[in-house]
């Protein structure tokens, strides 16, 4: 089984958010970056499927688009066990809309003829949650979203899909297919020292956005970003931990009257 996992490098969760002078995004120069969480679960699911299949021909290939810094995230995926990678050089990823990014990924993975394409259900920075679904559409493949578990069958896969409010369903799909993976389905592995060493010699194929023909103008434009306005007037309680805790108990008892 050949599995492609599309991954994205995103700012660390607790990164400081400061709006850039352009007003269109945040300042990036001092940000730390990490592998998008649901993409990490997609990678884990792919690695487990490969391990279960046991076939020597089984392969996990990660693909990612972005500026040069995504190389570190790709190496991390290789260290965890992906066999090889495709890196799409693209310095203006954030200026592309979901269709533009999906076109790049679809063009890069099509020649591989994979059995499965996995990706996280959404990115933590832009939160579009569309890339996997559009890749499926562009490649003419069936898809399913919010998947927690994948099982190989004779003709395809059976997946467990999360629905709202604690409900689930299973879906049978023929392969090739595209699945977007929800976090929490598996326990994530860490890269081992041996894995990190091996990753250095694994193949990373370099492509550019231009050669993939993905340079059409975006239809949806992010024009301006701003810090959210507080909807409620929050009373912030200050002082030492003891002082703040005592003040809070007072407020909850005598002001909010909920204790």
């Amino acid at each position: 089984m050949k599995i492609i996992v599309a991954i994205k490098q995103v700012p660390e969760r607790d990164a400081q958010v400061r709006i850039a002078p352009s007003g269109k995004w945040i300042q990036e120069f001092d940000l730390q970056y990490a592998l998008n969480e649901s993409d990490a679960y997609a990678l884990e699911e792919a690695l487990q499927l490969k391990e279960k299949s046991g076939a020597a021909s089984s392969e996990v290939i990660v693909v990612s688009a972005g500026p040069e810094r995504i190389g570190t995230t790709i190496r991390e995926a290789l260290a965890k066990g992906a066999d090889r990678a495709i890196q799409i050089a693209c310095d203006d990823l954030g200026a592309r809309d979901a269709l533009g990014v999906a076109r790049l990924l679809a063009a890069a993975v099509k020649p591989e003829n994979p059995d499965l394409i996995l990706t996280g259900l959404q990115s933590e920075d832009l939160g579009l949650g569309q890339t996997g679904v559009i890749v499926a559409e562009l490649l003419g493949l069936p898809h399913a979203t919010l998947i927690l578990h994948v099982e190989k069958t004779e003709s395809g896969v059976t997946v467990k899909r999360e629905l709202e409010e604690g409900w689930f369903q299973t879906i049978e799909l023929p392969t090739p297919a595209v699945l977007t993976i929800q976090s929490g389905g598996n326990k994530l592995r860490y890269a081992t020292l041996m894995g990190i060493k091996r990753a250095k010699n694994k193949e990373v194929r370099q492509l550019t956005a231009a050669e993939l023909g993905g340079d059409s103008a975006p239809l949806v434009l992010l024009e301006h970003v701003s810090m959210p306005q507080k909807k409620k007037s929050t009373q912030m309680l200050s002082g030492t931990a003891q002082e703040a805790a005592a003040a809070l108990v007072e407020k909850l008892k005598f002001e909010a009257r909920v204790l």
């Binding site: 679904v133 559409e137 949806v220």
Partner: protein, 330 residues
């Protein structure tokens, strides 16, 4: 190209609240554009749902009906709605940002060479800007982004749960006309086979009726630290709950999860500890009477909806709070 079409969502034979909210958003957009509002409902048996929608103030309702649409599949819904949109030529198509819409609307938009503007929290107009401005949340709610649609062709938009008031679309004096459209779908075009929805295991924890909830998030850092918040919950006589990552890691059982994929709660008091406040969590607890947030990041989105906040280290604040609660109860 004119008009605003809202695709209303049904769940288990009823119109979902988020469906009415999308209709309210579509009406808001229609008023802003001076464009008429119509609605569509997709399924195999939509007669009574269509009448319910037609009783609201809109121009018309289309029943997109076919036996193959009895159960939701992305393939079925995309084919059916593609035909409706081609026939009706709306300028804007509005959806609720539900799990179902997230599953098919991006592909439907792509089929028109378009891009869905998803999870929108506000629709506004600005002087000197052509067309509406759609606001979405970025970076897990820590930043807002204003988006604009350029080019011709329908603009696809989905709206976040709770962003528009379901009641805003008022009852009409007379019912709107209802038409039925039967899309051409072949069984072979539906490539996926979904099962009936099921619940995992038995729900033994009913957070929905809890009056006091202590809820814990990523800030707790390790499973070994859970007793710190458990002690506070015990001192308060509160239920212990968690945000998704805590349950994903197996630190607390899934049935204690609050948020879009877990339980929806509305206690008197909701104490959010080490929870940053991503929208997936907020939708599950926004109805709480009083919200307290304890988080080391003073810019965490949870503070935007909190009544009381302590910006500090939970490992100091929570034990102090447990002691203060115990002292107050003596």
């Amino acid at each position: 190209m004119s008009g605003v079409l809202v695709v209303v969502e049904q769940r288990a034979g009823r119109i979902a609240r988020i469906g009415w909210e999308a209709a309210a958003a579509a009406q808001h957009l229609g008023v802003q554009l001076g464009a008429p509002l119509s609605a569509a409902i997709v399924g195999a048996d939509t007669e009574s749902l269509a009448s319910e929608i037609a009783a609201r103030t809109l121009e018309k309702v289309t029943r997109v009906e076919h036996p193959l649409l009895a159960q939701y599949t992305a393939d079925g819904f995309i084919i059916a709605l593609q035909q409706l949109i081609q026939a009706e030529q709306p300028g804007y198509v509005v959806f609720p940002h539900s799990y179902q819409v997230r599953d098919y609307a991006p592909a439907l938009a792509a089929r028109f060479g378009q891009v869905l503007i998803g999870d929108v929290v506000a629709i506004s107009a600005a002087e000197g800007v052509a067309g509406p401005i759609f606001t979405r949340q970025l970076l897990q709610g820590r930043l807002n982004g204003d988006y604009r649609h350029s080019g011709s062709g329908p603009c696809f938009v989905s709206v976040q749960a709770g962003a528009f008031r379901a009641e805003a679309l008022s009852q009409a004096v007379a019912s709107a006309p209802i038409t039925t459209s039967t899309p051409a779908i072949e069984p072979a075009q539906i490539r996926t086979r979904p099962s009936e929805p099921f619940r995992a295991g038995s729900q033994t924890v009913d957070l929905g009726s809890a009056q006091l909830i202590v809820s814990v998030g990523r800030g707790i850092k390790d499973a070994d630290n859970i007793p710190i918040v458990q002690e506070l919950a015990t001192a308060l006589g509160a239920e212990l709950a968690a945000s998704r990552p805590i349950c994903d890691n197996g630190w607390l059982p899934m049935e204690r999860q609050v948020g879009s994929s877990g339980q929806t709660v509305s206690p008197k008091l909701y104490l959010a500890i080490g929870i940053s406040g991503a929208i997936q969590h907020l939708v599950g607890m926004k109805g709480s009477q009083c919200v307290v947030a304890i988080n080391k990041d003073p810019d965490a989105p949870i503070f935007e909806i909190a009544d009381y906040g302590i910006a500090g280290d939970l490992f100091e604040v929570v034990p102090a709070l447990t002691a203060a609660v115990k002292a107050a109860k003596q």
